[in-house]
Every structure is written in C-alpha cells, then in structure tokens.
C-alpha cells in the first residue's frame, strides 16, 4: 500500500505536531509551568501517524498514559490539548482530566488512560459496537509492551478472536516499561507471538519506519473492516525520553538510547526517504515545520490566556442526571 503525496504530507504534519507538542511540554515542565504526571512519546510518532492515517472519526482508538501522539493523530485539537495540560476551562476535558485522560469521543478518541492495559478492552468494546451495529468501523487499541502483561490484554484478545471482532491491537514495543527492560518481564521474543494463543493474526512492523507501519496497519485494518477478524500488530520502537517528564534516566545506558536517537529517528528516516525518492520536497517539509511551530506556540499562548474552571464546577457531570 503506497501512500500518496497528500497522505505523506498529512502524516508528516502529524508526526511533526506530535514531536513539537512533546518538546514544548518538556520545556514548559522545566520552566515549572505544568503540573501533574506527564509522559512524552518522542520517538514513537510514526506509529500513531501511520495507524491513524487509515482511520475515520467513526473508528475508535483507545490510548495510554503516553497518549498525546495518539490523540493528535486521531484528530484531537492541539489547542484543546494544550489548554488541558494547563488545566484551563478551554481544555479538551475542561481541565478536569489532564494529560492522562485526554479524550474526544466525537473524534473517535476513547481517551488516554492512567491504568495500564485498561484501554485494550475498551477498544474491543468499540469493535463489538461496530460489529453489532454494522457501522463499518474498527476498534484500535494502542498500548505498550508492558501492558501486554496484563490480564486485560489476554482476555480481550481471546474475546476478540472468538467473536471475530473488527479490532486491531497495536503494541508499541519501546523496550521499556517504566524503568524495567521488557526482556526482564516478557518471556517471548516478540509480543506478536502472543497472538498465537488466541489463533489471532499477527504482524511485526518497524515502528520507526512510517512506510512499514502504514502498509501493515493498512492491511490489518482493512482485514478487520472486511469482517476477517482481529490482528495483533507489534511495532518495534523506542522511547527517546524518560518514562515521565523529569525522569532522571539513571537506569538506562546512554549508548543504547543514543543508537536509536541518532540512527532511528522516525522523522529523520521519513524525511530521508520522501526526499530521496522525490515524494515530497525538503522545502515542503520545512514549511510544514514552520506552520506546526506556529500552531504550537499559538496553542500555548491561548492556553495561558484562558481562564481556569470555576471552583463551583467541581460537582458538574458526575452523573448524567443528578
């Protein structure tokens, strides 16, 4: 499946937006301007962009604590997201959710999630809705290698396989769960192997290569849409920064990280390929960079100028009907 130049442009804009958003929030945390628990997904941008390139608003994505990239790729407005991080009333969740709970159901974003593994059955549920209501949509769970050790993962895959749900399980294997290397806690070499227990289709993609993820995600999402069942798609990637913003990273050998950061940066790999093959011009990418920088700067400014919620809103929306 070859992406058209239009798709490539959108994908690059998505990846650049994710990168800039995350870089900006790290800067803001360092300036003491943002509170709460924040997790950046720098290094993993290609996966979100490539998977979501195949999705429409009526397709649902569930995400994780490291969810900004998935939200951006699924079309959640970055202004609202930035305002959410600042806890303003103009935030995606009116300041009530914060980084780990950014959600936009209308955009098909079922939410970042503070509970590791919790999103996996949620996407399975979205796939069940799609199947029973024949919406033509799919449910896509984005989650980490660490989450694949949760019962919620195994139970969901089993159910989806049994019911042949239009679901796709995208595991972003970044080699780490917090401060613990994946190989310490996962006995199989590839997370994808786990699909076999459920007689489920599986694939492995190079998560740093937009083109590879795009092709494979395209294939398995189409398969799910056709009614041919779910897939576990493992994308090999790396978390360029710490587990959380502020992580001192003392547990990780620098040479390991440098290897990925210097040689496997998904944005650089993308640029080398599209310019090398004459698919997009470097000028074109630079103007996207500028446009994105402007958008992020503007989002920060708007967020900082926006009001906080009023304390009287505390008890709003606990129930549909009080």
């Amino acid at each position: 499946m070859q992406p058209t130049p239009e798709i490539l442009q959108v994908a690059y804009r998505t990846m650049r937006t994710i990168r800039s958003f995350e870089e900006k929030l790290i800067e803001l945390v360092n300036q003491g301007k943002l509170g709460g628990f924040l997790h950046a997904c720098i290094g993993q941008e290609a996966i979100a962009a490539a998977v979501c390139a195949h999705l429409k608003d009526h397709d649902y994505v569930s995400s994780t604590h490291r969810g900004h990239g998935h939200c951006i790729a699924k079309g959640v407005d970055v202004r609202g997201m930035m305002a959410e991080l600042f806890g303003r009333s103009t935030g995606t969740c009116r300041g009530r959710g914060g980084s780990m709970h950014i959600a936009d159901i209308e955009k098909g974003m079922l939410g970042a999630n503070g509970i590791v593994g919790a999103g996996i059955p949620l996407a399975t549920g979205a796939a069940l809705t799609a199947k029973l209501k024949k919406t033509g949509g799919v449910g896509v769970a984005m989650f980490g290698d660490g989450a694949s050790n949760q019962g919620a993962f195994h139970e969901s895959l089993n159910m989806a396989a049994n019911w042949q749900l239009p679901a796709v399980y995208v595991c972003e294997n970044n080699g780490w769960g917090e401060f613990t290397p994946t190989e310490f806690v996962v006995p199989v070499k590839d997370i994808a192997e786990r699909a076999r227990s459920y007689a489920m289709n599986s694939m492995i993609a190079d998560g740093m290569d937009f083109f590879d993820v795009y092709a494979k995600a395209g294939e398995v999402i189409a398969r799910a849409r056709r009614g041919d069942g779910p897939t576990l798609l493992e994308c090999k990637t790396y978390r360029f920064t710490g587990h959380y913003v502020g992580d001192p990273l003392v547990y990780r050998v620098k040479a390991e990280a440098d290897e990925w950061i210097n040689n496997r940066d998904p944005l650089k790999l993308f640029e080398a390929r599209v310019t090398g093959e004459g698919l997009l011009a470097a000028d074109n990418l630079r103007s996207i960079d500028e446009e994105v920088t402007e958008r992020i700067t503007e989002a920060v400014k708007a967020a900082q100028e926006a009001p906080f919620p009023d304390p009287s809103e505390l008890m709003q929306d606990v129930y549909a009907v009080n």
């Binding site: 959410e84 300041g95 050790n149 769960g177 806690v185 547990y251 919620p309």
Partner: protein, 342 residues
C-alpha cells in the same frame, strides 16, 4: 517500642519514604521469608551495567535490590498476578510485601484481597495464616488526576479479614510497616502522598507501632479533631490556628482504620463533647462516616453538638489545581467546621 532507652538522643529527621525503606530493610534482614514484590521496585537494577537508583516510582525501595538480591522481585505489570501470587505465597510460608504503585490500581486486582486473602483464615476454619502486606500510595494534591489520586482505604477497611493502616508521619510509618509485615493477617499499608516526602524524627533500629491503636497527637479540651494520614497534619495546623482564638482542639491520629480504635475515639469525645473527623477520601461509605456513626451510636451521651465530617467531594479527583483544591479537605475547612460548632 523495643530497644528504647531513657537516654535522650539526637533527633534524626528523615522523610517517610526513607522510614519505609528502613522498615523494609529491617524486616528483610530479620526474616528471609520476607520478600518484596512490585513493578519497578528494582527498576533497571538487575542489569549488569545498570543501577539500582530507581526503586519504584516514588524511589522508596531504592538500593534494596543490591542488599537483598534474593528477596526483591521486580514483577511484570500484572497486578492480578502479583497480588494473587503474593496471597498464594503468604499462605504457604513466605511473608510477602507487595507494592501496589497507586491504590487506584486496586481496581485491577481486587479479587485476591476481597475473596481470597481476607477470607482464608475464617473460611478455612482458622487453619490458615496470611502474612501479607500491601503497600500502596494514596491521596490527592499532586495533580495526578482521577486515576492516580484516590484514597480507597475505605474499600479495604470495609472488608472483614483485611486490616488497613495509614501513618501520618515518618516514625509511625516505620513502626506500623514493621508491625504490618510481622502480622499474620493481610494488611493494607497506605502511603499518603501528602506525607511521603515530609520528614519527622525517626528512631533508629527495630520497633513496632501496634496495629489498632490510635494516638493523641495534641491535647485539647474544646473539640476533638480526628484525622488519618495526611489529614492529621491539616488537623494539627487547624488546632494551631484555633488556639490563637482561644479554642483548644485535641487531635487524634487514627493510624489504623481497620481495626478502628473505638475506645480512643470515644475517650476524646467524652472529654471534649465535640468531634470533627477529617478524611481525604470521598464521603460515602467511608471512615469519616464510620467515626460519625460510632459517636452517635456509642457516644451519644457525650455529644454537645453534631459530628462534622470534613472529607473530599463526592466526585472523581479533578486534574486542574483550582478544582483539586476545592475537592480536597483543608485546614481552612476544618477551622470553618469547628467554628460552626463553637
């Protein structure tokens, strides 16, 4: 306290997190059956080229893997597996201490506590011992939002067979944790965010704070402020403020939520005739309500006015600072409650 002498000693102020680590060190050194299990309790520590600097998300267990390589177990992110395994290990001869990173995560692993550990002794005709401790971080105030800020000890305190304790300072944390680990019942040990990094004077050596005993932490005569965990500090501050207006508040630190030290509560109520209970948790079905009910049920004749509950709001924990502040109990709200009584 064992090993105490009458010699005055230099105070040694250390944060609660360090006091907890001291208790773990003492427990593991004194009993090889004590094992520590949890996510990232060692972090990258077992890597030949790595370090043991992390020690969990709150760095409480930093360095323990080097000292106790056979007793510290890093686990996968599998809370149901971790808790269930710990219960099985406890009933067969080990004395596990599980770190459940945040109490909010109890949603993923309630069964081993709710239907297994808590019921074995009774259900098996008194023929089981379940020496299990679950350490878990509770409380709001760090903008950690709806799934990392809850104080769910009311849930575990409400399960017969489970004990639940919550220290308000570093010294009690050490003594209560040692008591919890050595107890043959399953104990949930809460680590409130509000006190984890606060320092108090902590005795050296091995000592236990008995489970089930509350403690008067400030003597007073006009009103009783009953707190637990981080709310004890709030109550003490409120008492300080009230003292300036000539109101004398007594502060009782529950320390143990299950069992509940009913005598201590009724004794202070008998003394002051007015009681306010301050709880970081949501108000329904909780510790504050239990204390209030106790006062009405068994302390009715002592009461000179209503019992007031100062608690969190009955909603999920909001992220943004303004709402999180409105959500949480505070010194100001305690003072206000006292003024409504006196």
């Amino acid at each position: 306290m064992s090993g105490q002498s009458n010699q005055p000693r230099e105070p040694r102020e250390i944060p609660t997190a360090f006091a907890i680590a001291e208790a773990l060190r003492i427990a593991m050194a004194s009993d090889p059956n004590v094992i520590l299990m949890g996510e990232d309790v060692a972090g990258g520590g077992r890597r030949p080229e790595g370090t043991d600097e992390m020690g969990g998300i709150m760095s409480v267990t930093r360095g323990l893997i080097s000292e106790f390589p056979n007793q510290v177990l890093d686990t996968p992110i599998s809370e149901m597996g971790i808790l269930g395994t710990a219960v099985g290990a406890a009933v067969t001869g080990l004395r596990p201490v599980v770190e459940l990173m945040f109490m909010d995560f109890i949603g993923t692993c309630l069964d081993p506590l709710l239907n297994q550990a808590s019921k074995f002794r009774y259900m098996f005709g008194g023929k089981a011992r379940i020496p299990l401790t679950v350490r878990t971080v509770t409380g709001a105030g760090m903008q950690a939002a709806a799934q990392h800020s809850q104080s769910l000890y009311w849930m575990t305190a409400g399960i017969p067979g489970l004990k639940t304790v919550i220290p308000s300072n570093a010294a009690d944390a050490k003594g209560l944790l040692l008591a919890a680990i050595r107890c043959d019942d399953p104990v949930v040990f809460c680590e409130p965010k509000g006190i984890l990094f606060l320092s108090t004077d902590v005795p050296e050596g091995d000592y236990e704070v008995p489970i089930g005993k509350a403690k008067i932490v400030r003597v007073g005569s006009d009103v009783s402020l009953v707190g637990m965990g981080a709310t004890v500090g709030m109550a003490l501050q409120a008492a300080e403020e009230l003292a300036r207006d000539g109101i004398s508040a007594e502060v009782l630190d529950l320390r143990s939520l299950a069992p509940l030290d009913e005598d201590a509560i009724l004794t202070t109520l008998a003394k002051t005739g007015r009681l306010i209970v301050v709880d970081e948790a949501t108000p329904r079905c909780g510790i504050a309500s239990d204390v209030a009910a106790l006062c009405v049920d068994k302390g009715f004749d002592f009461l000179n006015g209503p019992v007031r509950r100062v608690t969190a709001a009955m909603c999920p924990v909001p992220f943004t600072r303004v709402l999180e502040e409105a959500y949480m109990p505070s010194t100001a709200r305690i003072v206000e409650a006292v003024r409504s009584l006196i």
